[in-house]
Amino acid sequence: MNLKVEETGKVVLIVVKEERLDAHNSEELKKELARLFDEGKTRVVVDLKDVRFIDSSGLGSLVSGFKNASARQAELKLSSLQSQVKSMFELTRLHRVFDIYTTIDEAIEAF
C-alpha cells in the first residue's frame, strides 16, 4: 500500500495514495496507525483525497486507529473525503464518530 507519511510540528499526516482502501490493503494502514500511536504521536490526520472506494475493512482500519488514539488521549482526524467515500461513512454512521474536514489544512488547524 502506498502511504505518504509526513511530520509537521506536532502533527503526523498520512496521505493514502491509493484509489481503493479495501480488505486487500487496509491492514497496512491499520498497522501504520498503531505504530504511530505506540510511538507516542498524539495528533494524526489521515487524508483520503485519492481514495474513491472504501469497504468495511477500510472503515475498520480507521475505526481501529480511532480507538487506538482514544485509548492514549491522542486524536485522529480525517480529511478530503470523496462523495462515494463519505456516503459509506454515512451509511455506517461513522460520520458521527470521526472528525472529518474538507482539507488537510482545516484538519491540522482544528487540533
Partner: protein, 143 residues
C-alpha cells in the same frame, strides 16, 4: 438471452488481490443500466462495494482464506434488476443472525462486522443457501 440482458461469469483465485478487478468489472457493467432514475455513478459504486463485501466473506470466512480455492461470481444485469451471485466451496457461514439484526444494533466502534450490514443496506434482497458442492450468496437490486 433476453434483449439487453448481460450475464457475466467470472472465476478468480480465493485471494483479496482480485477484489479491485472484480469490483471494476461490476462498476462497468452497472454503467450499462438504462432504466435507472437515480445517480448511476452512485449505483455503480454501491454494486462495487456490495460485491467486494460478498467476495471478502467468501474468501475469508466461507473458504477459510485458502489461496488454492476459487470463488465464482455471476453478475446479471436485467432490464429492471441487477443480480449478483457469489459461489463458495467452503463450510459456509451463518448469514441469518446478521441479516435478522435490526439496523440500529450496528456497533459504531467495532473494527469488524459491517460487511453484511452494508450488503443488506444497499440491496433489496439477500439470501445465502447451500447448493451442490458449496453455497451461494444472492443479492438483488431492483430499479
Amino acid at each position: 438471452m433476453k434483449n439487453n440482458q448481460i450475464d457475466l461469469q467470472i472465476t478468480v483465485p480465493n485471494q483479496t488481490r482480485y477484489l479491485s478487478l472484480v469490483g471494476k468489472i461490476s462498476e462497468e457493467l452497472t454503467s450499462q443500466v438504462q432504466n435507472y432514475d437515480g445517480d448511476l455513478d452512485a449505483l455503480a459504486n454501491h454494486i462495487n462495494v456490495v460485491l467486494t463485501e460478498a467476495l471478502v466473506n467468501a474468501i475469508r470466512h466461507a473458504n477459510s482464506d485458502n489461496p488454492d480455492e476459487e470463488v465464482q461470481i455471476r453478475i446479471i444485469v436485467m432490464e429492471h434488476e441487477i443480480l449478483l451471485q457469489v459461489f463458495d466451496h467452503g463450510k459456509g457461514f451463518d448469514l441469518d443472525t446478521v441479516l435478522h439484526n435490526p439496523v440500529d444494533t450496528i456497533n459504531e466502534l467495532e473494527d469488524h462486522g459491517r460487511g453484511l450490514y452494508i450488503i443488506r443496506s444497499l440491496m433489496d434482497s439477500v439470501n445465502y443457501r447451500k447448493i451442490d458442492g458449496g453455497n451461494v450468496l444472492e443479492m438483488r437490486k431492483k430499479f
